[in-house]
Subunit: 338 residues, 2 copies
């Protein structure tokens, strides 16, 4: 399966987001204008705090997907600009609340909003952005889009609670883990892509195809992120290697290493996830176990599986620059791990 | 103005919510069924935590207003049930986040959800209820209702941030204070009433009249709450006397007493709002200042002003049992202070 994906990569250069960025550059400027205009408020703290995160070096992955999917469908209107801003607002609101929930102090290499302005401000500005995203959707006026995005929002929140209750439980099975990332990460990727088919007035089959593309890409992205956390440097991820380990986050690499380990290994993982193994030596031991059990390699193998499904979901669309860019986005998601 | 309101009160008994509760009892059962059904989730923590607050002795004031306004308009359908549940979900989500922001440990005489399940769970279940409320609105399918409620949600969040940035600032003017409670409290009262006119397919004038009724009632309610905080007992309010004082909450009584006080008094209020005056003797001194400056009496006078405006906003509707119940709800809001 690995081979299949790598065969699709353009010869001679590493897969990147460049083609997608080039494809939607003009649209993305429009989206950024909407974002900037609609995060304004007479209460100065709102644009100040929201701007810190929104301007803070995110890739705009989700709005780019909406825009690229609209291009894939040769949609000629402009509704995707407001809706892509919606998607980014929902994502930003989620990040603000996530950082409060996790007590994070660093995101994308910068101090988190909750560290600078405090938890109360992050909770409330998150609520504001979330409400504002609904206002934008209502302005667009499509009940179908509203249904897709309000459902995605509820699924995300449910997934976040699910993750909270699974916290530090190393016995979490792979199925439950996939359920969690399917909700908290992949649901918004899926919705971001799917709404393009709604504004493009395409068939149910095309709508579902874009949903499947986004969902599988989202899962692949998250799995690769989880693997990278044990292998990248701080510059690449904007957070330190082993952050998940020290925070006791039960991700797929840990689930696999725990399941495949000896009784002694399992005790190690249990202790680690409860915060009793946070030294550099512990992290080195964890990495050794992840490698000896093949847990990292197989997490990436799982990611390639979902990446391939994302690419195959695009099968019913004719070849185009947009399609090539969407395929390469999947390859990029996977290639980040190498 | 006080006299005007009291003339309207039914002779021989204290104004109460009983007539409104009797009027909408059947509808409220339907709303409670919707609430119960729609707060369910496969993640047990969600109904557990949400149920603690939703079943925890709230008056269901906002959904009752939606139902009573629908009765006022002789609306014969059932759309108000789902929408009243929406309104209660938005309110509950706000309370969950408020208690996190304020670090509250008691609400309606019971331990707060954040004290029992922690801040992360309260933030995330609040997000879930908020998303769920949007799903319910989308199911109703009226873009006009969606516009009213999504706007109210954004205004509430903006008001909460405004309040946060005004925290402990005793120089907050009455105008800014009214702006804050207009947003964080009255906007949802207004929307709860207004949407009844939309489902009842009434004129713009009737829609605006119900909006004005709810908005003014909401302000009156909040002002009376602020006054009661310095005079009631714990049983009445479900929180202790002087909680706002000890939390450094700058409410209208404090704003008036500060503005009317001597330099020495102002220093006292400044220190108090910054948390340096939290003894019982300090509270007694505060209460003495509030009384000697007439700050409590005038806060209640302001409440009567808004109460009267609420009642007058109903002027264009013919006399009916529903109208009498809505008028008495205003009188009840005011009479709680005596």
């Amino acid at each position: 399966m690995s081979a299949t994906i790598h065969r699709l990569a353009p010869a001679g250069r590493a897969p990147s987001l460049e083609p997608m960025m080039a494809l939607v550059a003009g649209d993305l400027n429009q989206v950024n204008s909407v974002i900037l205009a609609r995060m304004q408020s007479d209460i100065p703290l709102i644009p100040e705090l929201a701007g810190h995160l929104i301007a803070g070096g995110g890739k705009r992955m989700r709005p780019m997907l909406t825009l690229a999917c609209a291009r894939l469908l040769d949609y000629a209107g402009t509704r995707q600009h407001k809706l892509a801003a919606c998607v980014e607002f929902i994502h930003t609101a989620t990040l603000l609340h996530d950082d409060v929930v996790d007590g994070s102090d660093l995101r994308r290499g910068r101090r988190t909003a909750n560290m600078i302005w405090g938890n109360p401000a992050s909770v409330l500005v998150g609520d504001f952005l979330f409400s504002r995203s609904f206002e934008l959707m209502v302005e667009d006026g499509s009940l179908k889009v509203l249904r897709i995005l309000s459902n995605a929002s509820a699924v995300i929140a449910e997934g976040e609670v699910n993750q909270l209750t699974a916290q530090r439980q190393v016995e979490t099975g792979e199925d439950r883990y996939l359920e969690i990332i399917g909700a908290k990460t992949a649901a918004l990727f899926a919705a971001a892509c799917r709404i393009a088919a709604v504004v493009g007035e395409r068939s149910e089959a095309e709508e579902l195809a874009l949903d499947a593309y986004g969902r599988n890409l989202g899962i692949a992205f998250q799995l690769v992120d989880d693997a990278i956390d044990y292998s990248s440097d701080e510059e690449t991820m904007g957070k330190g290697v082993g952050d998940d380990f020290r925070d006791g986050k039960v991700t797929l690499p840990v689930i696999l290493a725990h399941a495949r380990g000896s009784d002694e290994d399992r005790k190690f993982w249990r202790d680690a996830m409860h915060g009793h193994r946070i030294s550099d030596a512990d992290l080195a031991h964890a990495t050794a176990l992840l490698n000896s059990t093949g847990a990292i390699a197989d997490t990436l193998q799982r990611a390639r599986h979902y990446g391939q499904r994302a690419i195959d979901a695009l099968g019913l669309f004719p070849a185009s620059q947009a399609k090539a860019a969407l395929v390469e986005a999947v390859e990029f998601a996977i290639a980040r791990a190498y």
